[in-house]
Every structure is written in C-alpha cells, then in structure tokens.
C-alpha cells in the first residue's frame, strides 16, 4: 500500500474501516508521532457514523499522542459523534479537556465524582502500565488524607494484588476495563472494584497459610490473596445482576483500627 504523507500534522479517521484504511490511518499517525509536532489534528470529517471501532481509533490516537507528549485535537466533529462521545463519557477527555502533562493509560478517568464525599473513580485496563498508572492516581488521591506511609503502602499493595488477581483469575483480556471507586471518610477508605470476566471471589480462595511450610514446599505463588486479606479490614464480594464482579474492600485507620 502506498502511504501518502502530506505536510500537515493531520490524520483523517476513515469512515470505511477496511484493513487498508485502518493501516493507512495508523501508518500516518505513526509518521506524525515520529515527527513529534506540538499538536496532531485528528480529522473526523469523513465519519458518517461512529462505531465502537471508530471510538477505539480515537482513543488509540489520544493514548499514543499522550505517550509521545503531543497534544491531540479532534477537528470536524459531527453532532452525531459528539452525542456518542458524550454518552460514553469521552467527550470531555477527547474534545474539550485541556491536554494533560501526565501520561494516562486509562481510557476514561473521572478524577472526582463527589468532592463532598472525597471520592475518586477511575477505569484501568488489565495491563501493567495501566495498573501502575491507576496506582499513581490512587496515591495522589490518598494525599488528601493524612495517612501514614504504611497505610499508603498497604493500599498500594491491595490495589496491585487485586488487579493482578483479577487478570489471572477472572480471565479478563488486556482490553477489558476494571472500574475502581475509592471513597475516603475520616476513619477509613473504601475501594470498590467492578470488573468483567468469570466469577472470581477473592475471599473464597484464601487457604490456610503456614510460612514455614510454604518455604519448605518452595511455593512461589499464592501470596497475593493472603496479603489482600491481611492488609484489608473488610472484604466482600458479589456477582452483580449484569454478570460483573464487585469486590469491596475497606481499610480503617485511627481509632477504628483498634
């Protein structure tokens, strides 16, 4: 396929999602990314409709630009596309939100859903980069509370181990999104993970644990759930009506932890 490179920093999203068109789009995008311009325009003028694949293309472009430290601007956006983006809560992120310096792996991040309740909601993919990015956001959020270093470490560990166990046991794919809502009150934090995949109840899998025995047995795996259960104060799990998993974890500090 011949790649036509024009002199503008613009890439056009194809309406027809043939392999050739997709290849051409991503090739052009990559060429632009390599040029490292200040801004890349993603032209949506050809879009007659917006399918999930089109949205994924926009998200891919946004993510790639973010990673490269390049501002992405959508141009020629139809009203139909605006509606779709708003329904998906992507409008602010892809269209109106100012470019953020920090690279984010999340498809959608809502920094605060309820300031009065000190809550944060985020979605992250079941990939190491996205999980790490989620941990960073959680730690930043935890900065609101005057927590001890140990509490922050334990919450970081809980987040990491839950995410890794979801990847391993719930059989989610790299593209599946895990939703986390964290809510701070004066004496505790609640972490609610909602994730797709097969039913996976972390509370049901913790077996008897004998440190001496596991060393003798040369056991290399299976410590994550023990760590989660020991670092958290309350854990509950349920399968939702729409076939999602909901894991709720609470951790106390101060007098409530006594």
């Amino acid at each position: 396929m011949q790649l036509v490179v024009d002199k503008t920093n613009k890439v056009v999203v194809p309406d027809n999602l043939s392999n050739d068109n997709l290849e051409q789009f991503y090739s052009k995008l990559n060429v632009l990314l390599d040029k490292k311009p200040e801004e890349i325009e993603v032209d949506c003028s050809k879009l007659q409709r917006a399918t999930s694949t089109h949205i994924n293309i926009l998200w891919d472009a946004r993510y790639s630009c973010n990673e490269a430290g390049i501002k992405m601007r959508l141009v020629s956006i139809s009203e139909g596309l605006v509606r779709v983006l708003k329904v998906l809560d992507l409008y602010d992120l892809l269209v109106e939100q100012e470019y953020q310096e920090s690279v984010s792996s999340e498809r959608r991040v809502i920094p605060e859903i309820d300031k009065d309740n000190n809550a944060i909601e985020m979605e992250f993919k079941a990939t190491n980069g996205s999980i790490r990015s989620g941990i960073k956001k959680l730690k930043k959020f935890l900065g609101k509370a005057d927590l001890e270093e140990i509490s922050i470490l334990e919450l970081e560990t809980i987040f990491y181990e839950v995410a890794m166990n979801i990847c391993q046991h719930a059989q989610v794919s790299d593209n599946d999104l895990i939703n986390l809502t964290a809510t701070l009150t004066s004496d505790k934090i609640g972490l609610k993970f909602i994730y797709p995949g097969v039913s996976f109840d972390p509370t049901a899998r913790v077996k008897d644990y004998d440190p001496g025995a596991v060393i003798k047995q040369r056991q290399k795996r299976g410590y994550g759930l023990i760590m989660i259960n020991r670092m958290a104060d309350e854990i509950s799990y349920k399968r939702t009506d729409n076939d999602l998993n909901e894991l709720y974890i609470e951790k106390y500090w101060g007098d409530s932890n006594a």
């Binding site: 470490l153 334990e154 990491y160 795996r221």
Partner: protein, 115 residues
C-alpha cells in the same frame, strides 16, 4: 556468572550479592527466580539480597524469595535479606515471615553470615 538484569557482586566462592531495583513484582519476579536458581546451580551457598533500592515488592516478588530459599538452606547456605525499608519490612511482617527469613539491617551484617 549468571546473566541477569539484577546487579550481582561476587563476594567470595560461596557468597554472592544480588541488588534489586526499585520494584520486584509480577513483571520481574520470574527473572529473579531464574537468577537465584542459576546462582544456586553455580554452587553459591549464600545469597545476600540487598534491598536498598527496593520500594515495592508484590506477592510474586515475595514468592521469588520464598520459593528458592530452601534450596540454599539444604546445602547449608541461606538467602539473607538486608537493607529492607520499613515498607518492605511491613510486607514481610504481614506475611509473618520475620521469624522464617534471615534479615539483617545492612550489608555488613549480612556479609558476616556469608563469610
């Protein structure tokens, strides 16, 4: 000398030091296992695990130590942890490992055991 990305330093014919990076997690725990096993196969009895740089250890990272330590102990050696931060110690204590692992405050103390 095993080929691995973890920094290693041979102290004597029985003792070798492994220096971890900032993280020992699911991404590199398997590599740590391979490194330790290679060192054990080469005949080193004592492995000093210098955690000075380590900021985060996941369950897989802990598992890379727990799963390999017995092989060293069987031949009269050990895996000796040193320079662990409070955060790392907290993880080890959560898993009740303080009484089952050989943990020294710094490298000098660890080297005494491996000397």
């Amino acid at each position: 000398m095993p080929d691995a990305s973890f920094s290693q330093e041979i102290l004597n014919k029985e003792t070798i030091i492994i220096k971890t990076g900032k993280q020992l997690d699911n991404n590199n725990a398997h590599e740590m296992v391979e490194t330790i096993v290679s060192i054990q196969i080469e005949g080193y009895k004592f492995i000093i695990f210098d955690m000075q740089q380590l900021e985060f250890i996941s369950s897989a990272g802990v598992g890379s130590i727990l799963g390999t330590i017995e092989a060293s102990r069987e031949i009269g050696g050990d895996i000796i942890l040193c320079n662990a931060s409070n955060s790392i110690m907290q993880v080890l204590e959560v898993l009740d490992l303080a009484d089952y692992l050989t943990i020294k405050s710094d490298r000098a103390e660890a080297v005494k055991l491996g000397a």
